[in-house]
Amino acid sequence: DGAQQSTYIVHMAKSQMPSSFDQHSLWYESSLKSASESAEMLYTYNNAIHGFATRLTPEEADSLMVQPGVISVQSEQQYELH
C-alpha cells in the first residue's frame, strides 16, 4: 500500500469550516479521515496556505477532493538546490 502512496498538499477553504469545529486542524483531520482511515497528517499549514500535507493513494486523493471545503489536492513537488 505504501508503494502506491504519494504526498499531497491539500488546500482548504478555511472560511467553509463547519461551526461544529472550533479548530481548523480538527476540521482538516476530520476531512482527511473521511477519505482515508489510515492517512496521517504530515504538516498542518496555517500561514503559507490553509491546508495540510498527507500521504494518500490516488483513489484516496480523489475521494478527499470531493469533501466539503477541499479546494484542491495537489501532488507534492520536488526541488533542487541552485
Binding site: 488546500h11 478555511k14 496556505i49 513537488q77 541552485h82
Partner: protein, 650 residues
C-alpha cells in the same frame, strides 16, 4: 563574502548609506536551505544587541544541534523533515544531521552571503583572501532546513515558509527551484502569503542557462535573481609543448606540478569506454595510459571535481577540464583534489586538437592564485537561467542579476570544499557558483533597504533594486553574456546588475499590492480554485472588470506579440525622492518596434505622490516567431534615473 561588498560599492566610503545599528539589526533574513553550521565565525554575535522583540522563532534541537548554538546573530534554526522521511525513511544520522545542522555547506554559504557577520582574514586555501561579510551584515539570520540529501520535498519547503512567516522574518531567501515549470509550485504559493505580510522573497533564477525559457521561480511577487561574475579570478596557466599557453581557472592548492612539461593525453584516448571515457567518468580511464600524465577531460555527465578524483585514482598527475559550447568561456572555479584547471571553449578546442595531432603531446599547469580588477566585469554567467518567462511571457524575468560566480562564503565543517566524500580537507570558507549564490546577495541588499525604509512593500524594494540596476560598463558598452561573448539582453540580465548604492535613493518606485497580484491572476484567467488557493480566501474576479497583465505595475516591460501591432501598457510611479520634474527617454534597438510614452513629463511636488503613464508599443507583427527585440524606458529628473528594460518577443 570577500570582494562583493567592494564590487557592489558597500565599502567604507559608502558606509553612511545604510544604518549599522538599530533598524539594520532588527531585520531578520530567513534562509530556506540545507541548514547552518552555527560554529562558523560568520554567525558570531559579538556586538549584537538583544533579539528583536517581534521575533517569534526559535532554535530546535536535534542531531549535533542544541538551542544553545543559536545566539543574537543566528536567532532561529528549524528543520522540516517529515515529507522527506515519509518517502526515504528515517534520516541516516550517521551521514546527515536530523537537525538544523548543515552537513552539505550550501545553506551555510547562502545564509552567510545574505547576512554573515564580519570575519577578517577569510579565504579558501589562501584564495580570495580578505574580510568576509554578508550583504546585510548587521541583520539577523534564521535558517529553515528544508533540503535533505539529495533533494527538497515540497511539503517540507512549504512547512519552512509557513513557519518563517509565523516567526516574523522580514526577508526570505530561497536558493532552490524546480526544472518542471508549471502552476503547481509550493514556493510560488507560499511566497504569495509571505509577500502579503510584507516579507520580501528573493529566489534563484536557476542554473539551466544558456537555454532560453529556462527560468525557475517566475511568479511576479517573487524577486528572481540571475548571476554574474565579480572582477576577481583564479587563473591557472596551461602551457603546451608547442609553446602556446592558455589561461584557465582553478582553486587547486597543494603540491604544484613540476614546472617542466609533462606527458599529456586526451581522456577519450586513454579509455576503452567510447561513451563516457572522455568525461573521465569513474572506472573509464586505463591507468597504464594515464599514469604520470596530465589528462584532458570533457565537462558533463559527472561533476567536475569527481573527474579530478578519477584522474588521480588512475595515476594521472593533473587535469585540464574542457568547457563545452554550453559554458563557453565561463570561468567557474573548483577546489580540485589534484592539480587541475578549467579552460574555456575556445582554448579547449585548440588544446584538444593539439592532444590529437601532436605525436608526443606535453603540457604543464601553473597556478597563479587570486587576481582582482578583472575587466570586463560583471559578465553574465553562462549557467544563469534565461527568459523569456516560460509561464507568463508578459512578465519579464529574471528581475536582475547579482554576483553568483566564484563566491566565497562560510562553509560547513562536515565536508571538504569539493564536496566529495574523499575530500578530507576542512575549510571555514568555500568558493562556489550558482544562482543560489546570487539570490542571497539580493536578499541581503533587500534587508539593507528594509532597514532604511521599513514601511516599503516588497514590490517597492524590488522596484528600487531593479530601476537602479545597470546594464552597461563604465565605458558605456553593454554587459557581456559569457556564453556567447556578445551583449547580454534583458532576457538574460533582466533590469541589469544590482547597484545598492543607487537603489537606496531610487527617486520613483513601482509599487504593487496584494490586490494588484490577484488582478494579475484574473487577467491570466486563473480558475477560481487556483485563485482561492493562492489568496487563501474567497477572492473572486469581478466579471464586470477588465483585467490586463499589461497593467500589472511591474518595473519592466515584456510584450509578447500575438498578431496585433499595437500594445498598450499602463504604469503608476510613486515619488520617493524630492519634488522634481521627470522626463522620459525611450530607446528601441530596432525600427520594428516603436515605443511612445504619454505623458512624456511627470511633475512631482511631494513625496508619495503618484503619477500614471501609458506606453504604446507599435510593432511589426510580421516578424518571424522567435524573434526578439529590446529597449528601455528611462525617467530622469537630472538626479535620479529610473530605468525599465523592455523586451519584445514574437
Amino acid at each position: 563574502t570577500t570582494r562583493t561588498p567592494l564590487f557592489l560599492g558597500l565599502e567604507v566610503h559608502n558606509a553612511g548609506l545604510f544604518p549599522e545599528t538599530g533598524a539594520a539589526s532588527d531585520v531578520v533574513i530567513g534562509v530556506l536551505d540545507t541548514g547552518v553550521w552555527p560554529e562558523s565565525k560568520s554567525f558570531s554575535d559579538e556586538g549584537y544587541g538583544p533579539v528583536p522583540s517581534t521575533w517569534k522563532g526559535e532554535c530546535e534541537t536535534g542531531t549535533n544541534f542544541t538551542a544553545s548554538l543559536c545566539n543574537r546573530k543566528l536567532i532561529g534554526a528549524r528543520f522540516f523533515v517529515t515529507g522527506y522521511e515519509k518517502i526515504n525513511g528515517p534520516v541516516d544520522e550517521s551521514k546527515e544531521s536530523r537537525s538544523p545542522r548543515d552537513d552539505d555547506g550550501h545553506g551555510t554559504h547562502t545564509a552567510s552571503t545574505a547576512a554573515g557577520s564580519v570575519v577578517e582574514g577569510a579565504n579558501l586555501l589562501g584564495f580570495a583572501n580578505g574580510t568576509a561579510r554578508g550583504m546585510a551584515y548587521r541583520a539577523r539570520v534564521a535558517v529553515y532546513k528544508v533540503c535533505w540529501k539529495p533533494t527538497c520535498f515540497g511539503s517540507d519547503v512549504l512547512a519552512g515558509i509557513d513557519k518563517a512567516i509565523e516567526d516574523n522574518v522580514n526577508v526570505l531567501s530561497i536558493s532552490l527551484g524546480r526544472r518542471r515549470r508549471d502552476y503547481n509550485n509550493e514556493i510560488a504559493i507560499g511566497a504569495f502569503s509571505a509577500m502579503e505580510r510584507g516579507i520580501f522573497v528573493s529566489c534563484s533564477a536557476g542554473n539551466d542557462g544558456p537555454n532560453p525559457f529556462s527560468l525557475s521561480n517566475v511568479a511576479p511577487w517573487i524577486t528572481t535573481v540571475g548571476a554574474g561574475t565579480l572582477d576577481r579570478d583564479f587563473p591557472a596557466l596551461v602551457t603546451l609543448g608547442n609553446g602556446k599557453y592558455y589561461t584557465g581557472v582553478s582553486l587547486f592548492k597543494g603540491d604544484a606540478l613540476s614546472s617542466k612539461l609533462l606527458p599529456f593525453v586526451y581522456a577519450g584516448n586513454a579509455s576503452n569506454n567510447a561513451t563516457y571515457g572522455n568525461f573521465c567518468f569513474p572506472g573509464t580511464l586505463i591507468p597504464e595510459k594515464v599514469k604520470g600524465k596530465i589528462v584532458m577531460c570533457e565537462k558533463g555527465v559527472n561533476v567536475r571535481v569527481e573527474k579530478g578524483e578519477v584522474v588521480k585514482a588512475a595515476g594521472g598527475l593533473g587535469m585540464i577540464l574542457a568547457n563545452t559550447a554550453y559554458e563557453g568561456e565561463e570561468r567557474t572555479a573548483n577546489a580540485f583534489l589534484l592539480p587541475a584547471t578549467t579552460v574555456g571553449e575556445k582554448a579547449s578546442d585548440i588544446i584538444r586538437h593539439y592532444a590529437f595531432t601532436d605525436p608526443n603531446p606535453t603540457a604543464s599547469i601553473v597556478f597563479q592564485g587570486t587576481v582582482v580588477n578583472v575587466q570586463p566585469s560583471p559578465v553574465l554567467a553562462a549557467f544563469s537561467s534565461r527568459g523569456p518567462n516560460p509561464i507568463t511571457p508578459n512578465i519579464l524575468k529574471p528581475d536582475l542579476i547579482a554576483p553568483g560566480v566564484n563566491i566565497l562564503a562560510a562553509w560547513t565543517g562536515a565536508v571538504g570544499p569539493s564536496g566529495l566524500a574523499s575530500d578530507t580537507r576542512r575549510v571555514e570558507f568555500n568558493i562556489i557558483s550558482g544562482t543560489s549564490m546570487s539570490c542571497p546577495h539580493v536578499s541581503g541588499l533587500a534587508a539593507l533597504l528594509k532597514s532604511v525604509y521599513p514601511e516599503w512593500s516588497p514590490a517597492a524594494i524590488r522596484s528600487a533594486l531593479m530601476t537602479t540596476a545597470y546594464n552597461t560598463y563604465k565605458d558605456g558598452n553593454p554587459i557581456i553574456d559569457i556564453a556567447t561573448g556578445i551583449p547580454s539582453t534583458p532576457f538574460e540580465h533582466g533590469a541589469g546588475h544590482v547597484s545598492p548604492t543607487t537603489a537606496v535613493n531610487p527617486g520613483l518606485i513601482y509599487d504593487l499590492t496584494t490586490a494588484d497580484y490577484l488582478g494579475f491572476l484574473c487577467a491570466l484567467k486563473y480558475n477560481s480554485s487556483l485563485i482561492r488557493i493562492i489568496s487563501r480566501g474567497n477572492y473572486t474576479c469581478d466579471p464586470s472588470k477588465t483585467y490586463s497583465v499589461a497593467d500589472l505595475n511591474y518595473p519592466s516591460f515584456a510584450v509578447n506579440v500575438d498578431g496585433s501591432s499595437t500594445y498598450k501598457y499602463t504604469r503608476t510611479v510613486t515619488n520617493v525622492g524630492g519634488a522634481g520634474s521627470y522626463s522620459v527617454k525611450v530607446t528601441s534597438e530596432t525600427t520594428a518596434v516603436k515605443i511612445s510614452v504619454e505623458p512624456a513629463i511627470l511633475n512631482f511636488k511631494e513625496v508619495n505622490e503618484k503619477k500614471s503613464y501609458e506606453v504604446t508599443f507599435t510593432v511589426d507583427s510580421s516578424k518571424p516567431s522567435g524573434s526578439n527585440s529590446f529597449g528601455s524606458i528611462e525617467w530622469s529628473d537630472g538626479k535620479h534615473v529610473v530605468a525599465s528594460p523592455v523586451a519584445i518577443s514574437w
